[in-house]
Structures are given as C-alpha cells and as structure tokens.
C-alpha cells in the first residue's frame, strides 16, 4: 500500500434493471496517473458500472470514493464536479449543434451564450494544442467523422476539467490509425497525471496500453491484475470461464462457379450522397469473401443493395441471372426467393422484431413463403414447431419459441437470425457484423456455422469491422474505403498493418508517416474532396 489514495474506489456496487442484475457487489480501485482496463463479455455489466460512476444510473447499493473521500454521485452533475468525465459507447452529442455548443452544454458560464462561446473557443484552441485534439469548433456534429466526434467527447470532458476519464469501447469505430492517435492522446493525459478507465473488447489494446486490468463476468468482477503480469489467454479464460480458442480452424477453400457477380455498382443514399462508387467483384461457390473497412465507408449500403433494401445502379447477377436493382421489380422478399439470405448488421433494428416472439422471428422476411400459410391465413402451429426445431439445432437458449425476441441475450438473438437465414440453405449468404455484441462462446459457434455453410459449397459475403474476424474467416479479403474497393488481399499473405492502411484509404507510401497520410485523407473526405491518397 502506497501513501497515495486511489483516484477511484468503488465498494460493493450493485445495480439491477428490473429482473436483470447488471452489477453484483462490485469493488474496484484505480490509482491516479494510470490507465485501467476493463474487459468482459457483452452484457457483463461494464457500461453499467461506469455509468454508475458517472452518475448516469443510480446504484442500488454501494459506495464511491474519489481521491480517498467518500462521494455521493446522484447525477452526472455531481460526477462532473468530482472531476469525472466519460466518453460513452454511443456518443452523447447533439447532432445538429456545433462543436462549441456541444462542449459548453451544461458547463456554460452565466445565462448568456455569447460570452460562454467565446471563452470555450479559446480554451478549445488551447486544449487542441495541448493534447493534439483538433476539431473545427463551428462544425456541426453530424458533419464530422466518428473519430472527430469522439474527440469532441474527450474535449467535453477536458473542458470540464476532468481528472478521471472513462472511455467505453472507444476504438470499435476507429481505423487503426485513428485508434493509434487516440492512444497517443491517452498517453499524454496519463503523463499529466490523469486517470483513465478504458473499456474494450480488444485484448491487444489491453495488453499494449493499460497498467492494470479488471475482468467482469455476468455482473461480477472476477479479477483485477497488473497488465504486465497477465496474458491474453489468461484474460480470455477469466472472461468466459473456460479455455477459448482464439483462432478459427478451417480447411482451405474449394471455390466453384461464380455465384454472385457485381459490376460497377453505385449506390446513392437518401441525402443524395454517393456511398458506393462503382465497385465490382465476384464471389464463387464455397468461398468466403470478406470486406474489411471502417464503418461508414459504404459496406452497409453494399449489403443493403444486395439484400434488396436499397436501389442502386450497375449490374449484379446471381448464378448468371441478372438481379433487378431499381427496386421496381424486386425487394427483400424476392431476393430471398432467389436464394439470397441476409444476416443484417444490426440485429435489433433490422434482423429481428424485438417485440415479436422467437417463432414469429424465425419466418421474418420469409413470411410470404407459401410453405407457412394456407390461403390468407398463416399456419402458426407449423411455424412454431419448425421454430422449435431450428432453435434446438442452433443451440438457442432457452429454446422456447413463444418468448419475445427481446428477452434473449445478444448472442442468442444473433443465433435466431442465423438459424433463420442459414437454415434457408441459400446460394448466397450476406453476413454483416455477425459477432458484434456477441460473447466469445457464441462467436466460436457462429464462426463454425459460417464455415460449415462455406464447406457445403455456398457463397458467402462477410462484412465486418473486426479485422481479426475478417482475417480468420475470409478466403479473400477486400478493403472498402470511401465507397470503393481499395484492393483485394490474401489473408495468408497480408497483415494487420497493410489492411489498416488500406482501411484508411492508403496504399503503401513509404516516405510519409502513416498517421499523417491518414489524417489528410480523412480530412479530405470529410470536406467532400476526393481523397488525396489511394
């Protein structure tokens, strides 16, 4: 025990959301001037714990000590006063406000806005210099990239003079280069004596940047260790409670005929912005074609066009037959009838109707299939029976088809979607972010299922922001940046660095520091110019 008091000490924190016990009797200590990592499966209670520390939720039980003094944190105001700042997993920014407006919101000086804004402008400039946190103070949030939005969140905290900064999964949406930049900033902050809590799913980040790490499982704190004294394998085991295979086992692919052929596909979104700028590729039977890229570079739109949710121009053909892209003669249902199944990126908003029962969800999108109905009426009994069988096969827990979808955990929800789409035995499977928000155990299972389908000779298009996932599943990897495919790589021969650069829109340019090129490129895109590199 050293003489200094811990910056943060939580004692016996418990919190229930209705019947869900999100935090059970959690205690933790974080020393000042350190970066403390927290890892755990989805739903383990990490965000809840931090939200309690930030006064966003109120704990049912427990005490908080800041710098050794017991502190009541009934609301965020109190947390801010105690020097705590938090960057949430989903940013809490007002989209159509400018950066300064967001920064001063709640921390204004006096009742009038003008002086507050003037002052904030000045101190933003200072902070930008001090911590490499540049953003245009008059830009609207909705016009900024995620990376810059995140900077605004950090600026908000620093503007409120936070000494303790909590970051909840900050790198999930960043390019590797942006992530590097972020960690440089965090390093600076730590060197200034600030305390940082970092929640992440990425063991690599924990190992590289943190001083100490805590592991959570099912609402409980299972261990706190010094980072230097642990290993990724040990952390994974602590997280899931058993040994986990961190790599996927698969046989080499045996590609057959071309199933999907895409030529010069362009997609324009509702606001008139071109999101996919003329891409072409083929996928063969029995192979997994992985698309890597930072979220928002046109992958979602690509998937949506293929799935019939959007219109586009160009040509696609399935098994040699053309597919209508105008939306006039086709929609999601006719795509399904043609043998395209689609596991959407967002299971809550798209893949499932959360208020529908599991059995209703097992025919979602296929409900017009004559198999399920007699005349205008649906054959509910048959659907339920079939649903039960599917749930058994996909090990959905609990296998009760009459439960509402929202009462399943994330991993099981994803399994319901997969059961529906894979059991359809499609020619082409579109899979977006298959393991986002899914715990490690379920990830293993889902990966195996995808590979099984490939080995049965189906074509699979996989989109994921997780490089590791792309690399371990795909037979060919394409990287999308700014609506275009930057190039294709063989997973065996490429590496994270190369892919990371491509994700930022850069082919190798040895004479320039990578971060510099990255920044310039992102900036150009943001300002609507053509990227300078790539």
């Amino acid at each position: 025990m050293s003489g200094t008091a811990p910056a943060i000490e939580l004692k016996g924190i418990s919190k229930a959301f209705g019947p869900v016990q999100a935090n059970k009797d959690i205690s933790i200590r974080v020393m000042p001037g350190t970066i403390h990592g927290i890892i755990g499966e989805n739903g383990a209670g990490k965000s809840t714990l931090m939200s309690i520390l930030y006064g966003f939720y109120k704990a049912d039980k427990g005490e908080v000590f800041i710098n050794g003094t017991k502190t009541e944190i009934p609301d965020s105001q109190a947390a801010i006063a105690a020097g705590i700042g938090m960057v949430f997993q989903h940013f809490k920014l007002v989209e159509n406000f400018t950066v300064v407006e967001n920064v001063i919101l709640g921390a204004e000086d006096g009742a009038m806005l003008t002086p507050s804004i003037a002052k904030a402008r000045k101190s933003l400039k200072q902070l930008a210099e001090e911590y490499e946190l540049n953003v245009d103070p008059d830009a609207k949030i909705e016009d900024l990239s995620v990376g810059h939005q995140q900077r605004v969140e950090i600026l908000k905290a620093l503007y409120r003079q936070a000494d303790i900064l909590i970051l909840d999964e900050p790198t999930g949406v960043l390019t590797p280069a942006e992530a590097d930049h972020l960690f440089r900033i965090l390093d600076n902050l730590r060197n200034e004596g600030k305390t940082i809590i970092l929640i992440t799913h990425k063991l690599r980040e924990i190992m590289e940047y943190t001083d100490t790490v805590s592991v959570m499982r099912q609402g409980e704190m299972t261990a706190t260790v010094k980072t230097a004294e642990t290993s990724p394998e040990q952390l994974a085991e602590l997280m899931v409670g058993r040994k986990v295979l961190l790599r996927v086992d698969k046989k080499p692919a045996a590609p057959g005929d071309v199933v999907l052929s895409v030529k010069d596909l362009k997609v324009t979104d509702g606001a008139g912005v071109e999101r996919v700028k003329g891409i072409s590729f083929d996928i063969r039977a029995g192979e997994i074609y992985g698309i890597a890229g930072v979220a928002g570079n046109g992958q979602s739109e690509l998937m949506e066009v293929l799935g019939g949710m959007r219109t586009g121009t160009g040509t696609i053909s399935l098994n040699g037959e053309p597919v209508d892209l105008t939306g006039k003669y086709s929609d999601g249902q006719s795509r399904r009838a043609r043998g395209i199944s689609h596991v959407p990126e967002d299971r809550h908003d798209e893949g499932l109707i959360l208020d529908y029962t599991a059995w209703e969800n097992t025919i979602f999108g296929y409900h017009r299939d004559p198999k399920w109905s007699s005349g205008p009426l649906m054959n509910n009994a048959a659907i339920i029976q079939e649903a039960e069988a599917k749930m058994q096969r996909f090990d959905v827990r609990p296998p009760i088809p009459t439960l509402k979808a929202k009462s399943f955990s994330g991993g099981n929800q994803q399994k319901i979607v997969l059961a529906r789409e894979i059991e359809k035995n499609p020619d082409l499977l579109l899979v977006g972010q298959p393991t986002r928000g899914v715990d490690i155990g379920a990830i293993e299972f889902i990966h195996q299922e995808i590979i099984r389908l490939r080995d049965e000779g189906k074509a699979i298009l996989l989109v994921s922001v997780e490089l590791d996932e792309i690399r371990s599943l795909s037979d060919r990897i394409a990287v999308m940046f700014d609506g275009k495919i930057m190039g294709e790589r063989d997973p065996e021969t490429t590496d994270e660095r190369e892919l990371g650069l491509m994700m930022a829109g850069i082919s190798e340019e040895p004479d320039k520091p990578a971060w510099k090129a990255v920044e310039e490129n992102l900036e150009a895109v943001e300002h609507g110019e053509a990227p300078k590199h790539g």
Binding site: G308, G332, G351, Y356, F364, H367
Partner: protein, 364 residues
C-alpha cells in the same frame, strides 16, 4: 424475462386505472354538489338493468367498436388515426348513397351494399392522409384532424344543398326506403309476451361489429398482411430489411382503418336514423381512440372497452333524464378514463412491476 405476468398487464392494470378514474369522477360529482352513489346507481340501472338500456348501451358500443377497431388497426402500423370522425362522416355518405339510389329488395342485401359503400367512402377519406404520410412524411395526426374539418364542410355542403329533399328543414337526406331498414333488437328478440328492447336503437349492425372484431383479430394475428402491419409498426427499419413496403403497409392499414370507421355509419345512419343527418358521428371517432387504448389495440379488448363507453353514454343519458347533472360530466369521466388508462398507464404499471419483482424475488 418479463417484468410481470401477462394477466396483470391485460387485466389488472386496466382495472386499477379504471378504479382511479372512478375515484376522481366521484370527487368531481361531489364537487358539483351531487350524490355520486345515486348517480352511479342511476347509471347502472338505466344502462344495464333493463333490456332497453342494453339496447342503447350496445347501440353506442357498436359505434365505438367500429371506431375503436379503426384506431387500433392503424395503430398496429404505428399510425395514429385521429380522423375516425371524418371517415365516419364520409362512411355515412356512402351508406346514404347506397340506400337512396339503389333499389334494394331486402335489408339483408341492403346492408351488404351499404357496408361496402360506407367502407369505400371511409377508406377513401383515409387514403389521402395515408398517402401523404407514406410518400411525403406529412404528419398523419395533423392531416387527419384537418380532414375531419374538411369532411364536416363537405357533408354540410351536400346536406344543406344537393341531398336535402325539397321542403325539408333538417340538413339531412330523405328517409331511406322501407326495404333498407335494418331489424332492431326489438324486431329480432321481442315477442308479444316479452317486450324486449322496446324503442332501443341497437340493430343487426351490432353483429356486423362483432364480425368486424373477429375479422380484425384474424387479420392482425393470423394473416400475412397482419404480420407485416405489426412488423412495420414495431420497427420500420426491420420491415425494410424484410422487404415489407412501408408505403404499401401504411396505405393498406389506413384504408382498412378508414373503412372500419366508415362502417360505423351503417349503425347510426341506416340502423338508427334511417337517413343521413349532419351530426351523425357525435364524436364517436374520438371515443374510438380511447376505446382502442383501453382495449390495448386488441379486438377483444376493444369490444369490452366499447361496451364500457357505451355504458358511460347510456348511463350518462339516464343521469341527464332524472337529475340535473350537466351532460358534460360524461365528457369529464371519459377524459379521466383516457387519462388513466392511456397517458398515466405507467403510473400504475411501474409500482406494479416493482411489486411483482419483489414477489418473484421472495419466491426465488
């Protein structure tokens, strides 16, 4: 894991809400210097203890079933159809045209024709707001309110001018011909020895409303269309993913909704007045909102809630007959019922959920 058992959600909460509305109503009656017990006794005796009372209660309930179903079908697609009033007025027009200009040989055929007329006209009146919502994003709440006003002006124009028989005073059409008159409960159930439902306006369209409840139930919970409507209502992005067309779903749901609201006119216009009068809806379109809310947008719930509101109407009439309580008391009671069963639902729900959680914890 649900927070509480389904029966508590479906039965307990509405009952507690109703009791709260009742308590406040009692206070209001006390405040205007009347005796609440007397009042409630009068209402119950007048509405439920005589066959003719039931004849009125069910007559009103028929209207509310149609408008309540209309609101709930639209609501399943997350469309808030406040235009029941206007759609019912247009439905009345459809009934009148069908009854006046087609020589029906028998009521059984006439009711078919007039139902189709009512549904078509009501649906047509819902079509424009639906289209504007689906295609142009015009807020359906506002457009349907506007369409209520426009319907009133249109009906006025027709009834003061074109459709009014020469020499008549009322802004109303001519009386419908004899063969279109619908059998009332009295015609159907009374015998010489047992004079039931004397003078009460309840008529065969009550059974039409029951049938509508059944069909709506089938539609929403048993058909592919209903599946799509609900899916769209729960999640528009989900519907898009599944290839369910938003435009189509909105328009179809609103057409069905408008058609149902229009069918209310079969009861009032063909069944009761036997001619189209200007004020034929009498606010039933708005009551439909409350009925749908109370009935949790389920046809069976709508049926029960419609009967409750029918009882309030008929009970209120009895109050007006035998006491000097102003008729607006019933409006206040309705407001309280809507408030507690609709807007303040969580006030009852939150503590109940806590209670059930605590109970469950104790068991475990």
């Amino acid at each position: 894991m649900d927070k509480m058992p389904a029966w508590a959600d479906v039965v307990l909460i509405p009952i507690i809400s109703l009791i709260l509305a009742g308590i406040l109503s009692t206070l209001v009656i006390l405040a205007i210097g009347e005796n609440p017990l007397e009042a409630y006794k009068l209402m119950i005796e007048g509405a439920l203890m005589r066959s003719a009372g039931w004849g009125y209660t069910l007559y009103y309930a028929t209207n509310f079933m149609f408008t309540g179903l209309a609101v709930s079908v639209a609501f399943h697609a997350r469309m808030f159809n406040i235009g029941g009033e206007g759609q019912a007025m247009l439905g009345g027009l459809g009934v009148a045209l069908a009854c006046l200009f087609i020589p029906w040989p028998h009521w059984s055929l006439a009711i078919l024709g007039s139902s189709i007329g009512a549904a078509l006209f009501g649906a047509a009146w819902a079509l424009i707001p639906a289209y504007l919502q689906a295609k142009r994003g015009s807020h359906i709440v506002i457009t349907t309110i506007m369409f209520n006003f426009i319907a009133a002006a249109l009906l006025n124009y027709l009834l003061v001018g074109l459709l009014k028989p020469a020499g008549a005073m009322d802004p109303a059409t001519a009386k419908f011909p004899e063969p279109t008159h619908l059998p009332t409960f009295q015609d159907m159930f009374a015998t010489a020895e047992t004079p039931l439902f004397r003078g009460a306006p309840a008529n065969v369209s009550f059974f039409l409303a029951l049938l509508a409840c059944l069909l709506v139930w089938l539609l929403i919970w048993r058909t592919k269309l209903g599946y799509e409507i609900r899916a769209f209502g729960y999640s528009q992005s989900g519907a898009k993913y599944a290839g369910i067309s938003g435009v189509k779903t909105i328009i179809i749901a609103m057409l069905i909704s408008g058609g149902l609201a229009g069918m209310m006119a079969v009861n009032t216009t063909q069944g009761e007045a036997e001619r189209l009068i200007l004020n034929m809806t009498e606010g039933a379109g708005f009551i439909g909102i409350a009925v749908a809310l109370m009935g949790r947008n389920h046809p069976f719930g709508v049926l029960l809630a419609a009967i409750l509101f029918g009882f309030l109407y008929q009970g209120g009439a009895e109050l007006a007959l035998w006491t000097s309580i102003p008729r607006e008391l019933i409006v206040v009671i309705q407001a309280l019922v809507i408030l507690f069963t609709g807007a303040l639902d969580n006030m009852v729900r939150m503590p109940l959920e806590k209670l059930f959680l605590a109970l469950r914890k104790k068991e475990a």
